[in-house]
């Protein structure tokens, strides 16, 4: 018999493993030798090349209630089997199962460096949580799609197991991670642009190189109650920092934000403050930093009682080529600090 080329460990929930239904949904992870449930047809599809050496089984509720601990408890036994590939599911449209599959794959992939793949329906809420980190293959919305899911999963496992290159999502058949990767191609951008325009004019199909992004919508916060007793803080993406940019916030692609104390300061002047933002003409902001961070106006309105208090600290970063991911991180951290300090509202200025 030919030697198996790669070893696989399979993750299933309690239902697909044949252990029980909702009554067993609280069972902690266990690992057993060989295949179970959908692992049987999956092994058949892998044929002589790959072997599912073990199956990890865990209850959906157990996992959902302790995602991190459960994932760790999956990683441990998996490592002892030293698989080449880890596969979970298919989860179809089951939310808790999808999360368990996604989280297990993610943990195994990150902690053990083993390639991982799972499969689920496009509307499974777990998809957006894990698609960036692991391979997720599309399936139908229910177990009726098992017949198609198995060969799709087997094909992918095989590629991973044999160390073959996984190409573009559309070709290889997985949900795009959503990661933009640079590549050099044959034609210049201008040549491709003219070709695309001619196709568009002729009504021929073409593929955009960048589909328009969608941005998150956040529900509006309630209006502040009584302005006269409120504490307001200032935040800016315009790069206004103390002279010399002591925390070295970058002129573009900022990797950080900073916090500075303005207690007792009534006005930002060019001898004490500057802009470090590299994306706009700095002359006006350097001349009078209040033009970007309106401290003088805020002090005036604090003094005449229009609002209660100007928070002693302000927050600054540079919004120039700074990624959305970083900006979201900074925003969350700043918001947490301001909440802890019981600030009532923020004026955010941008350039």
């Amino acid at each position: 018999m030919a030697e198996k080329k790669y070893r696989v460990v399979h993750y299933l929930n309690q239902f697909y493993a044949g252990i029980g239904g909702e009554d067993k949904a609280n069972m902690p992870p266990l690992i057993k030798e060989g295949v179970a449930g959908p692992g049987i047809p999956l092994q058949q599809a892998l044929g002589e090349e790959g072997e599912i050496v073990a199956t990890v089984i865990c209850g959906d509720s157990y996992f959902a209630e302790n995602i991190e601990t459960a994932a760790e408890k999956v990683v441990e036994p998996v490592s002892s089997y030293k698989p080449d590939v880890f596969v979970a599911g298919p989860a179809f449209n089951a939310g808790r199962y999808g999360v368990a599959c996604g989280a297990s794959c993610s943990a195994v992939s990150k902690k053990l460096g083993i390639p991982a793949v799972t499969a689920m329906y496009k509307e499974n809420p777990a998809l957006d949580l894990y698609r960036k980190e692991i391979y997720i293959i599309p399936t139908a919305d229910s177990v009726r799609g098992m017949k198609e899911a198995i060969p799709d999963m087997a094909g992918f496992i095989r590629k991973l197991g044999l160390g073959q290159e996984i190409g573009l999502p559309q070709e290889a058949g997985y949900f795009p991670h959503g990661i933009r990767v640079n590549q050099f191609v044959e034609r210049t951008g201008a040549e491709r642009a003219v070709a695309m325009l001619l196709s568009k004019l002729k009504g021929e199909p073409f593929q955009t190189e960048y589909p328009m992004p969608t941005f998150e919508r956040i529900p509006p916060s309630p209006a502040i109650g009584d302005l006269r007793s409120s504490t307001i803080a200032m935040v800016t993406s315009g790069g206004i920092v103390p002279l010399g940019n002591p925390d070295r916030i970058e002129a573009a692609s900022a990797s950080k934000f900073a916090e500075y104390n303005i207690a007792g300061v009534d006005d930002l002047t060019s001898d004490a403050y500057q802009t470090c933002h590299g994306g706009y003409d700095p002359v006006y902001a350097n001349d009078d930093p209040d033009r970007v961070l309106p401290l003088d106006a805020m002090r005036a309105l604090e003094k005449d009682g229009t609002f209660g208090k100007l928070y002693d600290l302000y927050y600054v970063t540079v919004g120039n080529a700074t990624s959305i991911a970083n900006s979201q991180k900074f925003g969350k951290e700043i918001a947490e600090k301001l909440k802890a300090a019981r600030v009532d509202a923020v004026i955010l200025t941008s350039t």
Binding site: R180, R187, T188, A190, P211, M212, A251, S253
Partner: protein, 423 residues
């Protein structure tokens, strides 16, 4: 308008007693060039160094790159309205030192520019690793105001490029490129236009059209030959990756590709230049006006190119939407700022009509570059230029930076072959 570009191919650059071209080698009289630069008493010091393709050389910090040219016959001088007399460019014969470039450097004003690696992994990201570069290093007098400093360096660079260009006035060209919008008789060929947006946001982000600050223009019609013959000059110094150097303006690849296909599968009817200003009202006004011009000249389709990123994405989207609303089919060329992991939204603005986008790459991609044997300029600015960060300078003079810092790496005229794909 009939323009002939006499292409003189340059394969090497050397210092020499006189500035001449012999057998495809550009010889440069260093002292003469320095004296020329220092005619502007706003500049205190100047130096010249040479860099050739394949050499282990890093040029940093770079302000502009200009292709040396000279007007052989026909009206006008190179860079009309800036250093040349104001006459319409785009006709007659202009000789070009193809394969040569004048590169300006100097001490940082504000947040400086980019760099060029002549060899190694960074070389493929810039067209200027393929040119024989004459690097002009310029220092301002003490206390010079930033606006004056930028202007002094810009003018010195253009004058130097023309000085080098003059060396080929009487040299027989290796090739002749002819540019003329011959009348198209085939009425089935689609009528297409090019909407060329110029960055115009203030110090270090300016562009000049016949010497006029693009901030002040209303969008206008221009013949493609005028663009190819020096009507547009760069005063823009931020984010090396997607600024259009004067060299890029002179060699606009969208114009070249439209010309290549003119009369064959399209009818290239014209170019509209517009600006990228800093107020919402200006953005609305310019995009309204430019779109209307495209409609007035009867274009069925248009390519829009961008310069810069961030708020100019709004101009790009406004132009797209307004032209599509007129029934004009559009394609846009843009780069992306998707974060270092490539996982963030790449543009600051979006409209559903933007369904035909050419991406020239994610500017935030980080690249690790080895040290070069020779530095022209100064390596220290690497940590403060756009795309650089604390720690960008690695042991022995290597660079760990975003490709944002490399000259022309994501030029949104579609000059290069970089793109980004979704994985």
């Amino acid at each position: 308008m009939h323009l002939e570009l006499g292409i003189i191919k340059i394969k090497d650059v050397q210092f020499g007693k006189e500035t001449v071209i012999e057998n495809g080698i550009l010889y440069v009289n260093k002292n003469e060039l320095i004296a020329l630069a220092l005619q502007d008493d706003r500049l205190s010091e100047a130096d010249v160094e040479l860099a050739r393709p394949g050499e282990s050389v890093r040029i940093i910090p770079v302000k502009d790159v200009i292709e040396p040219r000279v007007k052989v016959n026909g009206a006008g001088e190179p860079f009309p309205g800036v250093i040349g007399k104001t006459q319409t460019a785009g006709a007659g014969r202009t000789n070009v030192l193809r394969g040569a470039a004048l590169v300006t450097l100097g001490r940082i004003i504000g947040f400086q520019e980019g760099f060029i690696d002549m060899t190694g992994p960074g070389a493929q990201y810039t067209p200027f690793s393929q040119t024989n570069n004459v690097a002009l290093i310029l220092h301002p007098v003490a206390g010079l105001a930033p606006h004056a400093h930028e202007e002094a360096v810009r003018l010195a660079g253009l004058k130097a490029a023309v000085y080098l260009g003059k060396a080929c006035r009487d040299v027989a060209p290796d090739e002749l490129e002819v540019y003329e919008l011959t009348p198209v008789t085939d009425a089935t060929l689609p009528r297409v236009a090019y909407v060329h947006t110029l960055l115009s946001e203030g110090l270090l982000h300016d562009t000049y059209l016949y010497g006029i600050d693009a901030k002040k223009i209303l969008p206008t019609l221009i013949h493609p030959n005028e663009v190819m013959d020096g009507a547009i000059v760069s005063g823009n110094c931020v984010s090396a990756c997607d600024k259009h150097t004067t060299y890029h303006h002179l060699n606009n690849p969208v114009i070249k590709e439209f010309y290549r296909r003119h009369g064959k599968d399209l009818n290239f009817i014209g170019v509209i230049v517009t600006n990228l200003n800093v107020t919402l009202a200006d953005k609305e006004r310019s995009s309204d006006y430019a779109s209307k011009l495209v409609k007035l000249i009867g274009a069925e389709g248009a390519i829009i190119t961008e310069e810069g990123f961030g708020n100019p994405d709004t101009d790009l989207m406004m132009l797209c939407k307004k032209m599509e609303d007129y029934g004009i089919k559009t394609v846009m060329i843009t780069d992306e700022y998707a974060g270092r992991d490539g996982g963030s939204q790449s543009l600051a603005d979006a409209v559903p009509q933007a369904d035909a986008v050419i991406s020239v790459g994610n500017a935030n991609e980080v690249i690790n570059l080895p040290p070069m044997k020779r530095i022209i300029g100064d390596l220290k600015p690497a940590e403060v230029i756009a795309g650089g960060f604390v720690g960008s300078l690695t042991a022995g003079g290597g660079l760990n930076v975003e490709i944002q810092a490399i000259m022309g790496s994501t030029c949104q005229l579609g000059f290069g072959k970089l793109t980004a794909r979704e994985y």
